[in-house]
Protein backbone atom coordinates (compact mmCIF):
# COMPACT_ATOMS: atom_id res chain seq x y z
CA UNK A 1 0.00 0.00 0.00
CA UNK A 2 1.75 3.11 -1.17
CA UNK A 3 -1.32 5.32 -1.05
CA UNK A 4 -0.95 8.38 1.12
CA UNK A 5 -3.57 8.85 3.76
CA UNK A 6 -5.20 11.84 2.12
CA UNK A 7 -5.39 10.06 -1.21
CA UNK A 8 -7.12 7.11 0.38
CA UNK A 9 -9.66 9.29 2.17
CA UNK A 10 -10.28 11.32 -0.95
CA UNK A 11 -10.64 8.20 -3.04
CA UNK A 12 -13.23 6.77 -0.70
CA UNK A 13 -15.07 10.06 -0.73
CA UNK A 14 -15.05 10.25 -4.52
CA UNK A 15 -16.21 6.69 -4.86
CA UNK A 16 -19.01 7.39 -2.38
CA UNK A 17 -20.32 10.31 -4.46
CA UNK A 18 -19.81 8.50 -7.76
CA UNK A 19 -21.70 5.44 -6.51
CA UNK A 20 -24.52 7.68 -5.44
CA UNK A 21 -24.78 9.28 -8.87
CA UNK A 22 -24.74 5.86 -10.52
CA UNK A 23 -27.48 4.59 -8.20
CA UNK A 24 -29.76 7.53 -8.83
CA UNK A 25 -29.07 7.61 -12.57
CA UNK A 26 -31.94 5.36 -13.71
CA UNK A 27 -34.57 7.35 -11.82
CA UNK A 28 -33.16 10.68 -12.96
CA UNK A 29 -32.86 9.63 -16.58
CA UNK A 30 -36.37 8.23 -16.67
CA UNK A 31 -37.90 11.31 -15.10
CA UNK A 32 -35.93 13.70 -17.27
CA UNK A 33 -36.78 11.73 -20.41
CA UNK A 34 -40.47 11.25 -19.76
CA UNK A 35 -41.55 13.99 -17.42
CA UNK A 36 -39.29 16.99 -17.06
CA UNK A 37 -37.47 17.02 -20.37
CA UNK A 38 -40.59 17.10 -22.54
CA UNK A 39 -41.62 20.32 -20.79
CA UNK A 40 -38.77 22.04 -22.59
CA UNK A 41 -40.20 20.75 -25.87
CA UNK A 42 -43.50 22.36 -24.93
CA UNK A 43 -41.75 25.68 -24.42
CA UNK A 44 -40.06 25.23 -27.81
CA UNK A 45 -43.35 24.37 -29.51
CA UNK A 46 -45.04 27.46 -28.14
CA UNK A 47 -42.70 29.48 -30.37
CA UNK A 48 -43.40 27.56 -33.60
CA UNK A 49 -46.10 27.97 -36.25
CA UNK A 50 -49.07 25.60 -36.31
CA UNK A 51 -49.16 22.90 -38.97
CA UNK A 52 -52.28 22.47 -41.04
CA UNK A 53 -53.18 19.03 -39.65
CA UNK A 54 -51.98 19.39 -36.08
CA UNK A 55 -48.32 19.30 -35.15
CA UNK A 56 -46.12 22.28 -36.09
CA UNK A 57 -44.20 23.88 -38.90
CA UNK A 58 -40.55 24.37 -38.04
CA UNK A 59 -40.44 28.13 -38.21
CA UNK A 60 -40.20 30.67 -35.42
CA UNK A 61 -43.47 32.33 -34.57
CA UNK A 62 -44.99 34.17 -31.65
CA UNK A 63 -48.46 33.48 -32.99
CA UNK A 64 -49.07 30.87 -30.30
CA UNK A 65 -48.43 33.35 -27.52
CA UNK A 66 -50.28 36.05 -29.44
CA UNK A 67 -53.27 33.74 -29.62
CA UNK A 68 -53.28 33.22 -25.87
CA UNK A 69 -54.23 36.87 -25.47
CA UNK A 70 -55.80 37.92 -28.76
CA UNK A 71 -57.94 36.52 -31.54
CA UNK A 72 -57.55 37.50 -35.15
CA UNK A 73 -60.74 37.63 -37.11
CA UNK A 74 -60.61 35.11 -39.97
CA UNK A 75 -62.25 37.44 -42.47
CA UNK A 76 -60.91 40.91 -41.91
CA UNK A 77 -57.81 40.16 -39.80
CA UNK A 78 -58.86 42.57 -37.05
CA UNK A 79 -57.38 41.84 -33.68
CA UNK A 80 -59.41 41.65 -30.50
CA UNK A 81 -58.80 40.29 -27.01
CA UNK A 82 -59.31 36.54 -26.76
CA UNK A 83 -62.37 36.72 -24.55
CA UNK A 84 -62.90 32.98 -24.65
CA UNK A 85 -59.42 32.29 -23.27
CA UNK A 86 -59.71 34.96 -20.61
CA UNK A 87 -63.08 33.76 -19.52
CA UNK A 88 -61.86 30.17 -19.34
CA UNK A 89 -58.78 31.14 -17.34
CA UNK A 90 -60.93 33.34 -15.15
CA UNK A 91 -63.51 30.60 -14.67
CA UNK A 92 -60.76 28.10 -13.83
CA UNK A 93 -59.32 30.43 -11.22
CA UNK A 94 -62.77 31.16 -9.76
CA UNK A 95 -63.71 27.49 -9.64
CA UNK A 96 -60.38 26.46 -8.19
CA UNK A 97 -60.67 29.18 -5.58
CA UNK A 98 -64.24 28.26 -4.67
CA UNK A 99 -63.19 24.61 -4.45
CA UNK A 100 -60.37 25.59 -2.10
CA UNK A 101 -62.75 27.56 0.12
CA UNK A 102 -65.26 24.72 0.29
CA UNK A 103 -62.54 22.18 1.00
CA UNK A 104 -61.36 24.42 3.82
CA UNK A 105 -64.86 24.86 5.26
CA UNK A 106 -65.43 21.11 5.31
CA UNK A 107 -61.85 20.02 5.77
CA UNK A 108 -60.91 22.12 8.77
CA UNK A 109 -63.56 20.75 11.16
CA UNK A 110 -62.85 17.25 9.88
CA UNK A 111 -59.11 17.55 10.45
CA UNK A 112 -59.78 19.09 13.86
CA UNK A 113 -62.14 16.26 14.69
CA UNK A 114 -59.51 13.65 13.78
CA UNK A 115 -56.75 15.46 15.62
CA UNK A 116 -58.77 15.54 18.84
CA UNK A 117 -59.53 11.80 18.85
CA UNK A 118 -57.61 9.47 21.15
CA UNK A 119 -54.19 8.80 19.56
CA UNK A 120 -54.84 5.15 18.77
CA UNK A 121 -58.08 5.99 16.94
CA UNK A 122 -56.58 8.71 14.80
CA UNK A 123 -54.91 6.47 12.25
CA UNK A 124 -58.24 4.77 11.57
CA UNK A 125 -60.01 8.07 10.90
CA UNK A 126 -57.10 9.17 8.76
CA UNK A 127 -57.30 5.92 6.88
CA UNK A 128 -60.97 6.63 6.20
CA UNK A 129 -59.98 9.97 4.69
CA UNK A 130 -57.22 8.48 2.55
CA UNK A 131 -59.24 5.59 1.09
CA UNK A 132 -61.21 7.79 -1.30
CA UNK A 133 -57.97 9.58 -2.11
CA UNK A 134 -56.38 6.40 -3.39
CA UNK A 135 -59.40 5.18 -5.28
CA UNK A 136 -59.51 6.12 -8.90
CA UNK A 137 -60.35 9.77 -9.45
CA UNK A 138 -62.36 8.91 -12.55
CA UNK A 139 -64.49 6.51 -10.54
CA UNK A 140 -65.10 9.11 -7.86
CA UNK A 141 -66.07 11.64 -10.52
CA UNK A 142 -68.34 9.04 -12.04
CA UNK A 143 -69.88 8.39 -8.62
CA UNK A 144 -70.68 12.09 -8.23
CA UNK A 145 -72.13 12.13 -11.72
CA UNK A 146 -74.45 9.27 -10.86
CA UNK A 147 -75.67 11.11 -7.82
CA UNK A 148 -76.42 14.44 -9.46
CA UNK A 149 -77.45 13.59 -13.01
CA UNK A 150 -81.08 14.22 -14.06
CA UNK A 151 -81.96 10.55 -13.79
CA UNK A 152 -79.62 10.23 -10.79
CA UNK A 153 -80.45 9.39 -7.22
CA UNK A 154 -81.02 12.92 -5.86
CA UNK A 155 -83.43 13.96 -8.58
CA UNK A 156 -85.23 10.62 -8.50
CA UNK A 157 -85.62 10.84 -4.74
CA UNK A 158 -86.82 14.43 -4.75
CA UNK A 159 -89.36 13.69 -7.46
CA UNK A 160 -90.64 10.65 -5.65
CA UNK A 161 -91.20 12.63 -2.50
CA UNK A 162 -92.87 15.27 -4.64
CA UNK A 163 -90.70 18.26 -3.80
CA UNK A 164 -89.94 18.83 -7.45
CA UNK A 165 -91.85 17.85 -10.52
CA UNK A 166 -89.04 18.01 -13.08
CA UNK A 167 -85.42 17.06 -12.43
CA UNK A 168 -83.07 19.88 -11.48
CA UNK A 169 -80.34 20.28 -14.07
CA UNK A 170 -77.16 19.95 -12.04
CA UNK A 171 -74.91 18.23 -14.54
CA UNK A 172 -72.95 20.40 -16.95
CA UNK A 173 -72.94 23.40 -14.64
CA UNK A 174 -70.16 25.19 -12.82
CA UNK A 175 -71.78 23.97 -9.63
CA UNK A 176 -71.28 20.37 -10.73
CA UNK A 177 -67.61 21.00 -11.48
CA UNK A 178 -67.09 22.67 -8.14
CA UNK A 179 -68.88 19.93 -6.26
CA UNK A 180 -66.89 17.29 -8.07
CA UNK A 181 -63.57 18.99 -7.41
CA UNK A 182 -64.39 19.58 -3.75
CA UNK A 183 -65.25 15.92 -3.43
CA UNK A 184 -62.13 14.75 -5.23
CA UNK A 185 -59.62 17.09 -3.59
CA UNK A 186 -60.96 17.19 -0.02
CA UNK A 187 -58.38 14.68 1.31
CA UNK A 188 -55.60 16.92 0.01
CA UNK A 189 -56.89 19.62 2.37
CA UNK A 190 -57.52 17.39 5.37
CA UNK A 191 -54.10 15.72 5.46
CA UNK A 192 -51.86 18.81 5.84
CA UNK A 193 -54.40 20.42 8.15
CA UNK A 194 -54.34 17.35 10.31
CA UNK A 195 -50.53 17.36 10.33
CA UNK A 196 -50.58 20.91 11.74
CA UNK A 197 -53.44 20.37 14.16
CA UNK A 198 -51.89 17.23 15.54
CA UNK A 199 -48.86 19.23 16.68
CA UNK A 200 -51.07 21.84 18.31
CA UNK A 201 -50.18 22.34 21.96
CA UNK A 202 -53.52 22.16 23.74
CA UNK A 203 -52.06 23.85 26.82
CA UNK A 204 -52.21 27.04 24.76
CA UNK A 205 -55.94 26.54 24.39
CA UNK A 206 -56.23 26.03 28.12
CA UNK A 207 -54.37 29.28 28.57
CA UNK A 208 -56.83 30.93 26.18
CA UNK A 209 -59.84 29.81 28.19
CA UNK A 210 -58.05 30.75 31.37
CA UNK A 211 -57.79 34.27 29.96
CA UNK A 212 -61.55 34.49 29.34
CA UNK A 213 -61.67 33.64 25.63
CA UNK A 214 -64.93 32.20 24.28
CA UNK A 215 -64.98 29.00 22.20
CA UNK A 216 -65.02 31.07 19.06
CA UNK A 217 -62.36 33.39 20.43
CA UNK A 218 -60.07 30.42 21.04
CA UNK A 219 -60.70 29.09 17.54
CA UNK A 220 -60.22 32.43 15.84
CA UNK A 221 -57.41 33.93 17.90
CA UNK A 222 -55.41 30.87 18.93
CA UNK A 223 -56.07 27.74 16.88
CA UNK A 224 -56.33 29.23 13.41
CA UNK A 225 -53.23 31.46 13.71
CA UNK A 226 -51.24 28.48 15.01
CA UNK A 227 -52.20 26.14 12.18
CA UNK A 228 -51.92 28.79 9.47
CA UNK A 229 -49.04 26.96 7.78
CA UNK A 230 -51.27 23.89 7.47
CA UNK A 231 -54.09 25.98 6.06
CA UNK A 232 -51.80 27.49 3.45
CA UNK A 233 -50.33 24.09 2.55
CA UNK A 234 -53.74 22.50 2.20
CA UNK A 235 -55.06 25.41 0.15
CA UNK A 236 -52.18 25.26 -2.31
CA UNK A 237 -52.42 21.49 -2.53
CA UNK A 238 -56.09 21.83 -3.49
CA UNK A 239 -55.83 24.97 -5.61
CA UNK A 240 -53.05 23.73 -7.89
CA UNK A 241 -54.61 20.47 -9.10
CA UNK A 242 -58.06 22.08 -9.16
CA UNK A 243 -56.79 24.83 -11.44
CA UNK A 244 -55.29 22.34 -13.87
CA UNK A 245 -58.09 19.85 -13.49
CA UNK A 246 -59.03 17.96 -16.63
CA UNK A 247 -61.11 14.89 -15.81
CA UNK A 248 -63.70 16.53 -13.54
CA UNK A 249 -64.71 19.35 -15.91
CA UNK A 250 -64.68 16.94 -18.82
CA UNK A 251 -67.08 14.54 -17.14
CA UNK A 252 -69.21 16.92 -15.09
CA UNK A 253 -68.90 20.12 -17.12
CA UNK A 254 -69.84 18.72 -20.49
CA UNK A 255 -68.59 20.38 -23.66
CA UNK A 256 -69.33 23.97 -22.76
CA UNK A 257 -68.04 24.55 -19.28
CA UNK A 258 -64.35 24.31 -20.06
CA UNK A 259 -61.43 24.78 -17.75
CA UNK A 260 -57.84 25.46 -18.75
CA UNK A 261 -57.02 21.77 -18.95
CA UNK A 262 -59.79 21.18 -21.45
CA UNK A 263 -58.85 24.26 -23.43
CA UNK A 264 -55.33 22.90 -23.77
CA UNK A 265 -56.62 19.52 -24.87
CA UNK A 266 -58.83 21.22 -27.41
CA UNK A 267 -55.82 22.80 -29.12
CA UNK A 268 -54.20 19.39 -29.51
CA UNK A 269 -57.42 17.74 -30.63
CA UNK A 270 -60.06 19.52 -32.63
CA UNK A 271 -58.38 22.94 -32.52
CA UNK A 272 -55.25 21.64 -34.23
CA UNK A 273 -53.28 24.55 -32.92
CA UNK A 274 -50.37 22.94 -31.10
CA UNK A 275 -48.37 26.16 -30.57
CA UNK A 276 -51.36 27.76 -28.89
CA UNK A 277 -51.87 24.66 -26.76
CA UNK A 278 -48.18 24.73 -25.85
CA UNK A 279 -48.34 28.43 -24.95
CA UNK A 280 -51.42 27.82 -22.80
CA UNK A 281 -49.61 24.94 -21.07
CA UNK A 282 -46.61 27.11 -20.29
CA UNK A 283 -48.95 29.80 -18.92
CA UNK A 284 -50.58 27.22 -16.66
CA UNK A 285 -47.21 25.98 -15.43
CA UNK A 286 -46.15 29.53 -14.65
CA UNK A 287 -49.30 30.16 -12.58
CA UNK A 288 -48.77 26.87 -10.74
CA UNK A 289 -45.11 27.68 -10.10
CA UNK A 290 -46.07 31.01 -8.56
CA UNK A 291 -48.56 29.30 -6.28
CA UNK A 292 -45.90 26.75 -5.30
CA UNK A 293 -43.32 29.44 -4.71
CA UNK A 294 -45.74 31.20 -2.42
CA UNK A 295 -46.24 27.94 -0.56
CA UNK A 296 -42.53 27.16 -0.21
CA UNK A 297 -41.86 30.72 1.01
CA UNK A 298 -44.54 30.38 3.64
CA UNK A 299 -43.50 26.91 4.64
CA UNK A 300 -39.89 27.89 5.20
CA UNK A 301 -40.93 31.03 7.08
CA UNK A 302 -42.92 29.04 9.57
CA UNK A 303 -40.16 26.54 10.17
CA UNK A 304 -41.26 24.15 7.45
CA UNK A 305 -43.73 22.47 9.74
CA UNK A 306 -46.65 22.93 7.41
CA UNK A 307 -46.61 19.77 5.40
CA UNK A 308 -46.13 16.58 6.93
Amino acid sequence: MTLSAQDATEQRQKKHVRDRWLLSAPALILIIAASVGPLLIVVLYSFLAPGSYGDVKWEFSTEGWFNVLFTRDIFDDTVSLADAHFSIFWRSIKLAFATTVFCLIFGFPTAYFIATRAPHNRSLWLFLITIPFWTNMLIRTFAIQEVIRSEGIINTLLMKIGIISAPIQMMFTDFAIMLGMTYVFLPLMVLPLYASLEKLDFRLIEAGYDLYASRFGVLWRIIIPLVKPGIIAGSILVFVPALSSYVVPRVLGGGKNLMVGNLIELQFGQGRNWPLGAALSVTLVIIVLFAMLYYVRNASKSGGSAHG
Partner: protein, 270 residues
Protein backbone atom coordinates in the same frame (compact mmCIF):
# COMPACT_ATOMS: atom_id res chain seq x y z
CA UNK B 1 -74.62 17.79 37.04
CA UNK B 2 -72.80 19.92 34.53
CA UNK B 3 -70.66 18.23 31.93
CA UNK B 4 -66.94 18.61 32.25
CA UNK B 5 -65.72 21.55 30.22
CA UNK B 6 -63.75 20.05 27.34
CA UNK B 7 -61.14 22.43 26.01
CA UNK B 8 -60.86 20.50 22.78
CA UNK B 9 -64.49 20.77 21.79
CA UNK B 10 -65.60 23.23 19.13
CA UNK B 11 -69.36 23.44 18.55
CA UNK B 12 -70.55 21.83 15.33
CA UNK B 13 -67.15 20.50 14.31
CA UNK B 14 -67.99 16.88 15.00
CA UNK B 15 -71.23 17.25 13.06
CA UNK B 16 -69.46 18.74 10.06
CA UNK B 17 -66.82 16.01 10.24
CA UNK B 18 -69.45 13.27 10.30
CA UNK B 19 -71.26 14.96 7.44
CA UNK B 20 -67.97 15.08 5.56
CA UNK B 21 -67.32 11.37 6.02
CA UNK B 22 -70.89 10.69 5.03
CA UNK B 23 -70.51 12.76 1.84
CA UNK B 24 -67.19 11.14 1.04
CA UNK B 25 -68.64 7.68 1.12
CA UNK B 26 -72.19 8.29 -0.09
CA UNK B 27 -71.40 8.50 -3.82
CA UNK B 28 -69.05 5.54 -3.66
CA UNK B 29 -71.59 3.52 -1.71
CA UNK B 30 -74.34 4.42 -4.18
CA UNK B 31 -72.07 3.43 -7.02
CA UNK B 32 -71.36 0.05 -5.47
CA UNK B 33 -74.98 -0.63 -4.49
CA UNK B 34 -76.36 0.04 -7.94
CA UNK B 35 -73.81 -2.22 -9.57
CA UNK B 36 -75.99 -5.01 -8.12
CA UNK B 37 -79.19 -3.55 -9.55
CA UNK B 38 -81.12 -5.94 -11.70
CA UNK B 39 -82.72 -3.11 -13.68
CA UNK B 40 -80.81 -0.88 -16.05
CA UNK B 41 -81.27 2.28 -14.05
CA UNK B 42 -78.59 3.78 -11.84
CA UNK B 43 -81.19 5.39 -9.56
CA UNK B 44 -84.20 3.09 -9.30
CA UNK B 45 -83.60 -0.11 -7.40
CA UNK B 46 -85.21 -3.09 -9.04
CA UNK B 47 -83.72 -5.99 -7.13
CA UNK B 48 -80.43 -7.73 -6.61
CA UNK B 49 -78.58 -9.32 -9.49
CA UNK B 50 -75.09 -9.94 -10.75
CA UNK B 51 -76.08 -9.45 -14.37
CA UNK B 52 -73.97 -6.29 -14.84
CA UNK B 53 -70.87 -8.01 -13.55
CA UNK B 54 -71.59 -10.79 -16.01
CA UNK B 55 -72.14 -8.36 -18.83
CA UNK B 56 -68.89 -6.57 -18.03
CA UNK B 57 -67.11 -9.92 -17.95
CA UNK B 58 -68.48 -10.73 -21.39
CA UNK B 59 -67.54 -7.33 -22.78
CA UNK B 60 -64.42 -7.99 -24.82
CA UNK B 61 -63.35 -4.34 -24.71
CA UNK B 62 -63.56 -4.19 -20.93
CA UNK B 63 -61.51 -7.33 -20.49
CA UNK B 64 -58.89 -6.19 -22.97
CA UNK B 65 -58.63 -2.77 -21.36
CA UNK B 66 -58.39 -4.31 -17.89
CA UNK B 67 -55.64 -6.70 -18.93
CA UNK B 68 -53.78 -3.84 -20.59
CA UNK B 69 -54.17 -1.69 -17.48
CA UNK B 70 -52.78 -4.44 -15.27
CA UNK B 71 -49.90 -5.15 -17.64
CA UNK B 72 -48.87 -1.53 -17.81
CA UNK B 73 -49.29 -1.00 -14.09
CA UNK B 74 -47.28 -4.13 -13.23
CA UNK B 75 -44.34 -3.37 -15.50
CA UNK B 76 -44.33 0.36 -14.80
CA UNK B 77 -44.57 -0.19 -11.03
CA UNK B 78 -41.64 -2.62 -11.05
CA UNK B 79 -39.49 -0.26 -13.10
CA UNK B 80 -40.47 2.75 -11.01
CA UNK B 81 -39.86 0.91 -7.73
CA UNK B 82 -36.46 -0.38 -8.83
CA UNK B 83 -35.41 3.11 -9.88
CA UNK B 84 -36.87 4.65 -6.74
CA UNK B 85 -35.12 2.14 -4.46
CA UNK B 86 -31.73 2.88 -5.94
CA UNK B 87 -32.42 6.60 -5.88
CA UNK B 88 -33.55 6.44 -2.27
CA UNK B 89 -30.37 4.65 -1.26
CA UNK B 90 -28.38 7.29 -3.10
CA UNK B 91 -30.13 10.22 -1.48
CA UNK B 92 -30.57 9.20 2.15
CA UNK B 93 -28.26 8.77 5.10
CA UNK B 94 -25.38 10.50 3.42
CA UNK B 95 -23.46 13.64 4.14
CA UNK B 96 -24.74 16.32 1.77
CA UNK B 97 -22.86 16.31 -1.50
CA UNK B 98 -23.05 18.45 -4.58
CA UNK B 99 -26.17 17.80 -6.61
CA UNK B 100 -28.19 16.24 -3.81
CA UNK B 101 -30.82 18.98 -3.79
CA UNK B 102 -31.04 18.88 -7.57
CA UNK B 103 -31.74 15.17 -7.32
CA UNK B 104 -34.53 15.76 -4.82
CA UNK B 105 -36.15 18.37 -7.03
CA UNK B 106 -35.95 16.22 -10.14
CA UNK B 107 -37.40 13.20 -8.36
CA UNK B 108 -40.31 15.24 -7.02
CA UNK B 109 -40.85 17.19 -10.22
CA UNK B 110 -43.60 14.92 -11.62
CA UNK B 111 -45.68 15.78 -8.54
CA UNK B 112 -45.48 19.50 -9.22
CA UNK B 113 -46.13 19.77 -12.93
CA UNK B 114 -49.85 19.71 -13.82
CA UNK B 115 -50.73 16.34 -15.29
CA UNK B 116 -52.36 17.86 -18.33
CA UNK B 117 -49.12 19.65 -19.20
CA UNK B 118 -47.04 16.50 -18.82
CA UNK B 119 -49.60 14.71 -20.95
CA UNK B 120 -49.34 17.31 -23.70
CA UNK B 121 -45.56 17.29 -23.50
CA UNK B 122 -45.44 13.52 -23.86
CA UNK B 123 -47.91 13.65 -26.72
CA UNK B 124 -45.56 15.97 -28.58
CA UNK B 125 -42.45 13.96 -27.78
CA UNK B 126 -43.87 10.51 -28.46
CA UNK B 127 -45.61 11.50 -31.67
CA UNK B 128 -42.15 12.41 -33.00
CA UNK B 129 -40.55 9.26 -31.66
CA UNK B 130 -43.32 7.12 -33.12
CA UNK B 131 -42.61 8.57 -36.56
CA UNK B 132 -38.85 8.11 -36.23
CA UNK B 133 -38.84 4.58 -34.89
CA UNK B 134 -42.05 3.20 -36.32
CA UNK B 135 -42.67 1.56 -32.94
CA UNK B 136 -46.09 2.22 -31.45
CA UNK B 137 -46.48 -0.45 -28.77
CA UNK B 138 -47.23 -0.23 -25.07
CA UNK B 139 -43.65 0.90 -24.38
CA UNK B 140 -44.59 4.57 -24.46
CA UNK B 141 -47.32 4.14 -21.88
CA UNK B 142 -45.03 2.06 -19.67
CA UNK B 143 -42.23 4.63 -19.80
CA UNK B 144 -44.63 7.50 -19.11
CA UNK B 145 -46.27 5.67 -16.21
CA UNK B 146 -42.96 4.56 -14.73
CA UNK B 147 -41.71 8.14 -14.77
CA UNK B 148 -44.61 9.67 -12.87
CA UNK B 149 -44.78 6.71 -10.48
CA UNK B 150 -41.19 7.17 -9.30
CA UNK B 151 -41.90 9.93 -6.76
CA UNK B 152 -44.74 7.88 -5.28
CA UNK B 153 -42.60 4.77 -4.94
CA UNK B 154 -39.74 6.89 -3.63
CA UNK B 155 -41.66 8.30 -0.64
CA UNK B 156 -42.23 5.15 1.48
CA UNK B 157 -38.84 3.68 0.57
CA UNK B 158 -37.07 6.82 1.62
CA UNK B 159 -39.09 7.05 4.83
CA UNK B 160 -38.18 3.47 5.69
CA UNK B 161 -34.49 4.00 4.91
CA UNK B 162 -34.34 7.08 7.07
CA UNK B 163 -35.71 5.18 10.02
CA UNK B 164 -33.04 2.51 9.56
CA UNK B 165 -29.98 2.77 11.73
CA UNK B 166 -26.81 3.17 9.70
CA UNK B 167 -24.89 1.29 12.38
CA UNK B 168 -26.54 -1.95 11.17
CA UNK B 169 -24.73 -1.66 7.87
CA UNK B 170 -21.59 -0.69 9.73
CA UNK B 171 -21.94 -3.78 11.88
CA UNK B 172 -22.29 -5.92 8.77
CA UNK B 173 -19.17 -4.53 7.17
CA UNK B 174 -17.37 -4.92 10.50
CA UNK B 175 -18.41 -8.59 10.35
CA UNK B 176 -16.64 -9.12 7.03
CA UNK B 177 -19.58 -8.49 4.67
CA UNK B 178 -18.60 -6.90 1.38
CA UNK B 179 -20.69 -3.94 0.27
CA UNK B 180 -22.77 -6.23 -1.92
CA UNK B 181 -23.25 -8.73 0.91
CA UNK B 182 -24.22 -5.88 3.23
CA UNK B 183 -26.89 -4.81 0.76
CA UNK B 184 -28.06 -8.37 0.13
CA UNK B 185 -28.21 -9.59 3.75
CA UNK B 186 -28.90 -6.44 5.75
CA UNK B 187 -30.14 -3.43 3.80
CA UNK B 188 -32.49 -5.22 1.44
CA UNK B 189 -34.32 -7.41 3.98
CA UNK B 190 -34.80 -4.43 6.29
CA UNK B 191 -35.90 -2.19 3.46
CA UNK B 192 -38.28 -4.77 2.02
CA UNK B 193 -41.52 -3.49 3.60
CA UNK B 194 -40.76 -0.03 2.26
CA UNK B 195 -40.07 -1.40 -1.19
CA UNK B 196 -43.33 -3.37 -1.18
CA UNK B 197 -45.24 -0.29 -0.04
CA UNK B 198 -43.63 1.73 -2.83
CA UNK B 199 -44.44 -0.96 -5.36
CA UNK B 200 -48.09 -1.01 -4.36
CA UNK B 201 -48.38 2.74 -4.36
CA UNK B 202 -46.84 2.92 -7.81
CA UNK B 203 -49.14 0.16 -9.01
CA UNK B 204 -52.28 1.94 -7.80
CA UNK B 205 -51.15 5.30 -9.18
CA UNK B 206 -50.44 3.76 -12.57
CA UNK B 207 -53.73 1.89 -12.55
CA UNK B 208 -55.61 5.10 -11.80
CA UNK B 209 -54.07 7.32 -14.40
CA UNK B 210 -56.40 8.80 -17.00
CA UNK B 211 -54.96 12.04 -18.32
CA UNK B 212 -51.47 11.02 -19.36
CA UNK B 213 -52.70 7.70 -20.76
CA UNK B 214 -55.42 9.46 -22.74
CA UNK B 215 -52.82 11.59 -24.53
CA UNK B 216 -50.03 9.05 -24.92
CA UNK B 217 -51.98 5.97 -26.06
CA UNK B 218 -52.08 4.97 -29.68
CA UNK B 219 -55.28 3.70 -31.29
CA UNK B 220 -56.64 0.55 -29.67
CA UNK B 221 -54.56 1.00 -26.51
CA UNK B 222 -57.36 1.90 -24.15
CA UNK B 223 -56.71 1.17 -20.51
CA UNK B 224 -59.65 0.64 -18.22
CA UNK B 225 -59.80 4.28 -17.06
CA UNK B 226 -59.60 5.72 -20.59
CA UNK B 227 -62.19 3.20 -21.75
CA UNK B 228 -64.48 4.34 -18.95
CA UNK B 229 -63.83 7.99 -19.76
CA UNK B 230 -64.95 7.32 -23.30
CA UNK B 231 -68.05 5.50 -22.13
CA UNK B 232 -69.14 8.16 -19.65
CA UNK B 233 -70.26 10.39 -22.51
CA UNK B 234 -72.95 7.90 -23.43
CA UNK B 235 -75.97 6.63 -21.59
CA UNK B 236 -74.57 4.85 -18.60
CA UNK B 237 -75.82 1.44 -17.49
CA UNK B 238 -74.94 -0.26 -14.20
CA UNK B 239 -72.29 -2.13 -16.16
CA UNK B 240 -70.05 0.89 -15.49
CA UNK B 241 -70.90 0.57 -11.83
CA UNK B 242 -69.93 -3.08 -11.90
CA UNK B 243 -66.57 -2.30 -13.53
CA UNK B 244 -65.99 0.50 -11.03
CA UNK B 245 -66.85 -1.75 -8.12
CA UNK B 246 -64.31 -4.37 -9.16
CA UNK B 247 -61.74 -1.63 -9.72
CA UNK B 248 -62.51 -0.15 -6.29
CA UNK B 249 -62.13 -3.47 -4.55
CA UNK B 250 -58.73 -4.05 -6.15
CA UNK B 251 -57.47 -0.57 -5.28
CA UNK B 252 -58.84 -0.84 -1.79
CA UNK B 253 -57.16 -4.18 -1.19
CA UNK B 254 -53.82 -2.80 -2.31
CA UNK B 255 -54.18 0.39 -0.30
CA UNK B 256 -55.15 -1.49 2.84
CA UNK B 257 -52.09 -3.68 2.44
CA UNK B 258 -50.02 -0.56 1.93
CA UNK B 259 -51.47 0.96 5.08
CA UNK B 260 -50.32 -1.97 7.17
CA UNK B 261 -46.91 -2.19 5.53
CA UNK B 262 -46.07 1.47 5.84
CA UNK B 263 -46.99 1.86 9.47
CA UNK B 264 -43.99 3.27 11.26
CA UNK B 265 -41.63 0.38 11.81
CA UNK B 266 -41.19 -0.39 15.48
CA UNK B 267 -38.00 0.90 17.00
CA UNK B 268 -35.92 -2.19 16.76
CA UNK B 269 -33.49 -1.67 19.57
CA UNK B 270 -35.63 -0.31 22.31
Amino acid sequence: MAKTFSIKRQPGFATIAMFCFFLLYLPIATLVVYSFNSGSSIAIWEGFSLRWFQSAWNNQQVIEASVRSLQIAAVAAVIATACATLAAIATTRTAPYRGLTIKYSIINMPLLVPEIVTAVALLILFSRVKVWTGYSGLGYLIVAHAAFCIPFAYMPIRARLESMDLSLERAASDLYASSFQTFRYVTLPLLWPGILAGLMLAFVISLDDVVITEFVKSGGQDTLPTYMLGQLRRVVTPEMNAISTVFLVISLAIVTLFFFLSRTPQKDNE
